[in-house]
């Protein structure tokens, strides 16, 4: 009888003490995926894909008849809309190459080889000016049409122009706060 009483008392004490000792916990979990954006642009032929990681090149054959402008696209390769880009045009010898974007439309050669722009023309610098930051908006998944024209005294021969397009974070869309 005494043994039973002692056992029951001990069990009661343990039962009372157990919440603090055991420290029950409740938890709940959810998983969320996060993907970061990319931003950038690259030159491309009007019918091809952009040359990722390499400068876009144009080849010129200057004759006594002169040389016609060439047209290409600068494609937004990222996921963010671009507000501006920086263009660096280089050429070894030969004429000065001037780049001009047609914003809002593509350059057209229907009315002549010099091309016409029904949109807004924006200068992208030239081969003698070094890097040129130009405020040319290019929405995600879109492109801007560019004319490259040789100007000045044209020395006969074959030349290659390299066009690098760089985009910094500040030239892509601004930071935003979203709620949903």
């Amino acid at each position: 009888m005494r043994t039973s009483l002692l056992a029951a008392t001990a069990a009661l004490v343990l039962t009372i003490a157990s919440p603090a000792l055991a420290g029950e916990k409740a938890k709940n979990s959810r998983t969320q995926t996060v993907g970061s954006a990319s931003w950038g642009a690259a030159g491309s032929t009007t019918s091809g894909s952009p040359a990722i990681g390499s400068p876009f090149t144009l080849h010129w054959s200057v004759s006594i008849l002169g040389v016609n402008p060439q047209f290409f696209n600068v494609v937004n390769t990222g996921a963010l809309a671009l507000n501006a880009e920086t263009y660096t045009t280089t050429i070894s010898g030969g004429p000065k190459i001037v780049l001009t974007a047609c914003v809002g439309a593509d350059w057209s050669t229907v009315l002549g080889l010099l091309g016409t722009c029904s949109g807004t023309q924006v200068a992208l610098g030239d081969s003698s000016s070094g890097p040129t930051a130009a405020s040319v908006p290019i929405p995600a998944g879109s492109h801007v049409s560019v004319k490259a024209a040789a100007t000045g005294l044209l020395a006969l021969g074959n030349y290659t122009t390299s066009i690098n397009v760089s985009v910094s974070r500040a030239q892509a869309r601004a930071a935003v706060t979203t709620n949903s």
């Binding site: 409740a26 998983t31 969320q32 993907g35 950038g40 990681g53 397009v165 760089s166």
Partner: protein, 226 residues
């Protein structure tokens, strides 16, 4: 030849020598029997005729999306961006709770988004938690009905959330709802992409999976008298 009378005296002394011992044993046995009889007769038992019901409490923490919540992926987060998502935590068990914590387990396709290799990380994702005393307007991040916004967790890199961090140290009542705004941000930083190719160590185009684990502890054990 032995004398017959001497034999008789010797036998008589041996028989009488055992008599006191026999009497003592017999008396002791009688006393023990009688004693136990007295003890047994003093035993008493009492019990409750109506059984006592005892039930243990439950501790439960529910998590519900409020708006897009965690189940909707975050895409194309850019440096400087903040994405606010909203969830409701309810202490929906029978027991009050205390000590709400948050841990975030993160894995990613590239370590840059989870931990950028610097200590402390300056480029990786960060998590911030705030609570609203009423309810959140999930369209613009305001606390409805002039409620009070309380910061629960300052912007913390994911690497700092691998172990549980305290959100609410104090008590959480039964059925109390915590209206939380969980913000994921990517610190402002600059990267220049050349001809469509990002730099070697880039924050761009990465993905990460974040598992948020909220946990609360039961209230302290109590002793009640009634």
């Amino acid at each position: 030849m032995a004398h017959p009378a001497r034999h008789a005296d010797a036998d008589g002394r041996r028989r009488t020598a055992w008599r006191p011992l026999a009497v003592a044993v017999t008396g002791g046995a009688l006393l023990m029997t009688a004693g136990f009889g007295v003890w047994a007769s003093l035993d008493a038992t009492a019990f409750n005729t109506t059984p006592q019901d005892v039930s243990s409490g439950t501790l439960s923490l529910s998590l519900d999306d409020n708006g897009a919540g965690f189940t909707s992926a975050i895409t194309n987060i850019a440096p400087g961006d903040v994405v606010n998502r909203y969830v409701d935590l309810t202490n929906d068990g029978d027991l009050a709770a205390q000590g709400l914590t948050l841990a975030v387990d993160s894995t990613g396709s590239d370590a840059t988004l989870v931990t950028d290799g610097t200590t402390p990380p300056t480029k990786a994702l960060r998590v911030t938690v705030k609570s609203c005393s009423t309810t959140w307007d999930t369209s613009n991040g305001t606390c409805n009905s002039s409620g009070t916004i309380s910061p629960l967790l300052a912007a913390t890199p994911l690497s700092g959330l691998s172990s549980a961090q305290s959100l609410i140290a104090g008590a959480i009542a039964v059925n109390e709802v915590e209206h939380l705004q969980v913000s994921v941000s990517l610190p402002d930083q600059n990267e220049t992409t050349v001809n469509g190719a990002p730099p070697a160590t880039t924050i761009q185009g990465q993905s990460a999976t974040l598992t948020y684990t909220f946990q609360e502890s039961q209230r302290a054990g109590t002793i009640t008298d009634s």
